[in-house]
Amino acid sequence: MIGIIINGAILGAIFSLIAVGLNLQYGVTRILNIAHGEFLMLGSYITYIFFTLYGVNPLVSLVISGPIVFILGILIQIVVFRKLVHVSRSAEELESRSLLACFGLTFIIQNVVAEIFRGTPIISAPYLNVSTDILGEPVPLNMIVVAVMSVIISLVMYLVLRFTSIGLAMRATVEEPAGAQLVGINIFKIHAVSFGIGALLAALAGSMLVMIYSNITPYIGPQYTFIALAVIILGGMGSFIGSLVGGFLIGYVYYASLTIDALITLAVVYSFLIILLIIRPKGLFGR
């Protein structure tokens, strides 16, 4: 029982972090970034490169992988999505077009990485792989570190949104895009920055996942994208608290089903999502 509580919380913390990024992107830019998991995978690979080539501590490499992917995210937003917003006449149109563009992005990122790392199909950067005891339950130390870091990063993100001027501008853009422009917010800049931050959060999660798991491949992105999607839909699109709560809920459901039967995990998570959506179509915290 204690095992489920602890491990579920660890998974929940990671899922929340991944979902917060996706939610920020969707909330501000109205673009559902199906390629979100690919940014996560990029984070893993950057950490792996620095770990194997220069022996950089994976935790330290967060400050490398984060900014790199942040800049990449901003560039992609400017080159691809800004143009899409211009040519789309309605939110529906933008949604379907960005879906297409995100597909393209997924293909490109996955296969460029797969091409570069053709010699090493599976990577890992094991770090702090020692077992510790929490209330008599053996848990790997790196999992705890990752969970704590994830919570800290999510909290920092929350504080940024809540108390800084750029956070205020982002929230204004979520609430009322036209009104935000009227009061002098450059929403194009805000869109780019939000997209970049979303990518950055994914990359940070990816950088940390590579310390825990030894099954990272170039094609690992979509599975995290889908978990993040489940989380933000469960919590409610555009709701920060929703992402956190949804992340932990999905984390617990995921871990509980994992302990029962690892093969049925996905079905359980998605059935859970379907049932909740039918009961509450806008998610737990959606407006």
């Binding site: 691809v80 899409l84 149109e93 293909f107 490109i108 039967d261 093969l263």
Partner: protein, 334 residues
């Protein structure tokens, strides 16, 4: 003027009918003059074409984007494969392939009615994710069932020859085209389209929106299931949940239709043809770089022709029309 226009219309119409007949004849006799490689390309093209059209029939007209086509495609495959396996073993009566495929479609129809009743209350991205989730759940449950309950992964069934596979898929494509064309022109099709334009308005003029939506979704699922059943003949005697419920089938119909231009008659046809030929060409020409280039092309298309290929064609037509008019105008003597 009017007469001239009418004449012109019948003329283009006869031309169109002749063109379609010609294409049909070529497709029908393709196995006699095409090599196996080109025949397999054609067969895949027809499959994607039928899937895109079935997808477009519901999602294109109502604008409820479904990302769950793989569920229906996979069930079509699984039902057919399982039936073939069991009838081969003597547990079930032996039926001709079209009947099995028909049954597979009907199973999908019933399933989609249930799914539609529950999920079609949701719009936009929520509906998309829900349909996607349904396909994930079905695929995962089948995989789990096979591994933990029956202990065998996948299903083996008797093999079909190349020609049967081609003609099964060809026939299924024709049925799909005919059925969707007829339905689109009926009152039912108009109602679907109206729901896409404005659901509230449709409800106000007396369209039973939830009934029409659910039925449309079920018909689209049935057609996808037909293609799944026919596609079974193409698999080499073995199928498992990863093959049948591949996520590609969830996304590709949508991607191809959007590429061709959603909401137009020819959009899904042109989109699926372009996409399958292009990806085949790139796969051969560039080997493992092909997905990267495909991604670049997808993004370029979205940016430079956001309304798809058909949208681009329309745009060129209208600009030409205006240009020729404005060019003619100054020539007139005052």
């Amino acid at each position: 003027m009017l007469r001239g226009k009418g004449l012109n219309l019948t003329k283009t119409r006869t031309r169109l009918i002749v063109l379609i007949a010609l294409i049909l004849v070529i497709l029908a006799f393709a196995p006699y003059f095409l090599s196996l490689y080109y025949l397999s390309i054609l067969r895949n093209l027809l499959m994607w074409l039928a899937l895109s059209i079935s997808w477009h029939f519901f999602s294109g007209s109502t604008k409820y984007i479904s990302l769950g086509s793989a569920a229906f495609f996979g069930i079509g495959i699984y039902f057919t494969a399982k039936y073939l396996q069991l009838s081969n073993a003597g547990d079930f009566p032996v039926l001709p392939l079209p009947v099995i495929v028909l049954l597979a479609g009907l199973v999908n129809f019933a399933l989609a009615l249930v799914i539609g009743l529950v999920t079609l209350r949701l719009r936009g991205i929520y509906f998309a994710i829900l349909t996607f989730s349904v396909s994930m759940v079905i695929s995962n449950v089948i995989q789990w069932w096979e591994i933990t309950i029956t202990g065998t992964r996948g299903t083996y069934f008797p093999l079909f020859d190349f020609q049967t596979a081609y003609y099964a898929i060809f026939a299924c494509t024709i049925v799909t085209l005919l059925l969707t064309t007829l339905l689109r022109r009926s009152k039912f099709g108009l109602a679907l389209k109206m729901i896409g334009e404005s659901e509230e308005a449709a409800v106000h003029v007396g369209v039973n929106a939830s009934f029409i939506k659910t039925l449309g979704f079920a018909i689209s699922a049935m057609l996808i299931g037909f293609m799944g059943g026919c596609f079974t003949t193409r698999l080499s005697g073995y199928v498992n949940s990863d093959i049948a419920f591949n996520s590609l089938y969830n996304f590709m119909p949508a991607v191809m239709t959007l590429l061709g231009g959603a909401g137009t008659v020819y959009g899904p046809i042109i989109g699926s043809t372009t996409m399958s030929l292009l990806s085949e060409y790139l796969r051969v020409a560039l080997s493992h770089y092909f997905l990267i280039i495909l991604g670049v092309i997808l993004i370029a298309i979205v940016i430079f022709m956001p309304d798809g290929i058909m949208g681009m064609v329309e745009k060129i037509k209208t600009t030409k029309l205006f240009r020729s008019k404005s060019a003619k105008a100054p020539e007139k003597p005052p």
